[in-house]
Each structure stands twice: as C-alpha cells, then as structure tokens.
Amino acid sequence: MTQTDSPIIELRHVDKHYGPLHVLRDISLRVHQGEVVVIVGPSGSGKSTLCRTINRLETIDSGEILIDGVALPEEGKKLAAVRSQVGMVFQSFNLFAHMSILDNMTLAPVDVLKRDKKEARAEAMRLLERVGVADQAHKVPAQLSGGQQQRAAIARALAMRPKAMLFDEPTSALDPEMIEEVLQVISELATDGMTMLIVTHEMGFARNVADRIIFMDEGRIVEESDPEAFFLHPQSERARSFLSAVQRH
C-alpha cells in the first residue's frame, strides 16, 4: 500500500491560531521512513504545538496532515486507528498513574490492537528489558524515578509497533542526571531505524541523532538543513542568535 517514496509524516501548509496568536504559519514538512527529524527553537516558537497536531492532540485551522499517505481523520474510530500507529512520548511521561508499568504497557495492545494478553505481556517485558526497566514492571509509576518513567513511557509507545514516534520535549521534566539515560534510549531507536520527530532543547543530542534539523521561530520554519550545516553555519540571523544563546556555556 505504501509507496516507497511517500513520507510517513507529511504536513502541507498547516496553519493554526490561538485566538489572535498565529502559532503555526504555513508549515510544510516531510518525515520519510527511517528518518530522524529534530525540531529546535525558542520557547513559544510553536514546535510543541506542531508535534501535537500530528496526532491531533491539537487541531489545525487549515492545511493537511498525512500519516503514511492517509489524511489524518478528524474524529472517531478512524482517528483512533491512525493515532495507534504513531507513538507519542510526552514531557511529563503521562504513564497511567493507577496501573503497574506492565499494565501500562499492555492496555493499548490488548484493548486497541486486540493482541493476545499473554503475548502482549511477553512483548512488554522484552521492551522493558530493552529500555532497562524490566525490574520495575510490577511497580506503579509513582514508585519510579523520572528517567525510569520516561523510559517506560517510550517502551509503552513502542509496544504498539508504531510507524513513527513523536517526542515532545522528552527530557524537559527530568533532573540533569536522568536526561542522559533517556537520550541514550532514543539514540538507540534512531540507530535501529525508527522514524522519529523529536522536539528538544538538548542541542548536543540534536546534533548527534538528527538526519535533519528544523529551526522554528514565531510559528514558522525558519531553517531546515542537515545538523552539521545548521550548527556550524546557520543561515538566518535568528538561528545564529538562538544558537549563541543556548550554546554560550
């Protein structure tokens, strides 16, 4: 069904307003199979909003969003089905607080994908092993450190065998010492060829993991280039001042 050259995620001329605030301005963007695209930019530039429009946690005013060539449905079961194919990792982890880590992992695979419960549990344990929190499987989220919670949240998204993963500032709520362990997991996913769109403030990580960097400011894509070019020779004045501000120390 999938054409070899069609992007997994595609945005065409997307616009969004919050009242008088124009938060996304004519955004067009493609993420191809196996590609890692990292969005950077100052706070309020619209990068988180952009990330959230892709599985319609934010609606858009105009433009088109396509997932694997299919227009994102606006509601109902069809929307739920598309969402189940795109993994999302949040800043605040959002593990289900009343369930064990293992139950967090198996809820959607069993409930949405109708997988066999036993199989789902076995796969969940394999994924928890892979992100290094298998020993926490029977605890509830509040008993885990932030880094462990976020790694479990990544595993929960992977359990759906998604076509692509969205990361909305995955390390912004973490203590400095826990950031590295989460970035490590994401880097491994990149190596394994997972298609990813990542919003982050971690510039070193962005440079290492990205195939392409998108720099946003005031709701616009200001610059789009490969990481070396972006970090060494930013084209726009806005990107230059942003980079000098975040890389000063």
Binding site: N55, L57, G76, K77, A80, A81, R83, S84, Q85, V86, G87, M88, F90, S92, F93, N94, L95, F96, A97, H98, L107, A108, D111, V112, L113, V140, P141, A142, Q143, G146, Q149, A153, R156, A157, M160, A173
Partner: protein, 276 residues
C-alpha cells in the same frame, strides 16, 4: 512520602510557650467537660431519668432484637439508596461531561434540582403524591427512593470533580495510544477519579443514612421508627434516644474510618501524584 495532616499543612509546629498554653487549655477543657457531664447526670438523677424502669428493658433480648431489626432496615435503605444515588449520579455526571448541548443542559438541570430540594419534600412527594397516581410503593421504597434522589445530584458533582481532577496528560496519553473516548474513560480516567472522591462519596453515604431517619413519616420500620415504638411502649424517651444516638454515631464512625482507610490506600498507589 509521610502523610501530612491538615493541621501540619496549615500551622507551623508549636514552640515551647505554645505547647505549654495548649496543655493548660487542654486540661481546662477536659475539666469543663467532666463538670458538664456530671451536671447532666445529676439533672437526670434529680428528674428520675436514671430510674430502673427507664433502663431495665434494655436487659431484654427482645428489645435488642427489635432495635436490631430496625437497624437492619436502616442499613438496607441506606445501602440501597446510596447504590441508586451512585447509579443516577454516574449517569448525570456522564451527561454533564458530554459535548452534546441538550444532554448537558438536562443533566445540569437535574443535578441542580436534586441538590436544591430538601429530602423531606421528596419524601412527601413519594408519600402523598405518588400514591394518588396509583403507583403502589412499599414503605421501604417510599423512604429509600427519595433519599436516593436527594443524594444523586451531590454524587454526580462529586464524581465530576474527581474526573476533572485527573490530569489532562492521562487522557492525552490514552488518546495517543489509540483508545476511543469511551474506552479511555472507563480504563484510565474513571478508575483514578473514583479514588479522588471516595471521601466525598462516603460522606454522602452518611448523609443518606441520616436521611433515612425520616422513615417514621412513611412508617417504615427502620431504627428510628422502632425506637419510637419502644418510647411509647415504655414511656422512656431519653434512654431510648440516647441508645439510638450511640448506634448511629457508631455506624457513621465506622464509615468514616473506612473512608480514611480507602483514601490512604489509594494515596499509596499514587493516583495522580506521579512526579511531573
């Protein structure tokens, strides 16, 4: 995390002078309480309320069986009423949280109506108006239904506040995994919401239980009604009321302890307290 009491949250810990003042005031209050109790008992003795004829029938098993039967009816009415109130309250809460405007309006109106009207009016409605329509209800339902209806609006609002207290991120995570609105409500939101509002729900159960004392109006043989029978049989108002009051206090105390225990238990599972 160590559970913090309300007192610890609101006031700083007392220093040496404050501790001294607190202990003096405590002793004074205790002394005042003892003196007052002594005065009350003395007054009882003077007016003859402590005479054996007012108390001796409590030595008979039949008295306790009679009160026990009443107590059982009270509990049945309260539990049934609370069950119905929960079911109705749940439906009204679901209605009020819907996007559908008419449904939301009807639910909101029902909630305001049932919360605003005193229980006694509902009881008179079922006692005086309903029979005229030819709908024959037993005395039990004539007290249980109005108590349930009177409580359901409060239950609906309690549940709604619980649902609203569940962090938005929980819903977003469930949506992003492909759960539909209904599934995510029952699997993710409601199980957490109910933990938040257990104390309010049990408080409402206590109110339903106390409302059932209106059963004497519809001559349903609950604890209060049977107490009244004892009073007229033995001409012993004070002793019977005292014993019945102790029974009500005991039940409600146990309910409140249950509430504390459930609330503490759900706190341990960390509902809604995950670090952000």
């Amino acid at each position: 995390m160590k559970p913090t009491s309300i007192r610890e949250m609101l006031y700083e810990p007392p220093g040496p002078a404050a501790r001294k003042r607190i202990s003096i005031l405590t002793w004074l209050a205790m002394a005042a309480l003892v003196v007052l109790t002594a005065l009350v008992i003395r007054q009882f003795a003077v007016t003859g309320q402590l005479d054996a004829r007012y108390w001796s029938f409590f030595a008979r098993a039949t008295t306790w069986r009679f009160l026990g039967e009443g107590l059982l009816t009270t509990l049945e009415a309260a539990v049934t009423g609370a069950g119905i109130a929960f079911a109705l309250g749940f439906l009204m809460m679901r209605g009020k949280l819907r996007k559908n405007r008419p449904l939301r309006f009807i639910s909101a109106a029902l909630i305001e109506f049932t919360r605003g009207v005193p229980t006694l009016l509902f009881i008179y409605f079922f006692f005086l108006v309903v029979p005229q329509t030819g709908w024959k209800l037993s005395a039990f339902w004539k007290i249980t239904l109005p108590c349930a209806i009177s409580a359901c609006g409060v239950v609906a609002e309690a549940l709604r506040s619980g649902v609203n207290a569940v962090p938005r991120g929980q819903t977003e995570a469930a949506l992003s995994l492909g759960l539909t609105d209904t599934r995510l409500f029952y699997k993710v939101v409601f199980p957490q919401a109910i933990r938040f509002v257990i104390p309010s729900l049990i408080a409402e159960l206590v109110i339903v239980l106390k409302d059932t004392t209106f059963a004497y109006i519809v001559t349903c043989a609950d604890l209060m009604q049977n107490a009244k029978v004892l009073i007229s049989n033995y001409d012993a108002m004070l002793s019977v009321y005292l014993v019945v009051a102790v029974l009500y206090i005991l039940i409600n105390y146990l309910l409140n302890r249950l509430s504390d225990r459930l609330a503490a238990g759900s706190g341990r599972t960390g509902a809604g307290r995950s670090a952000v």
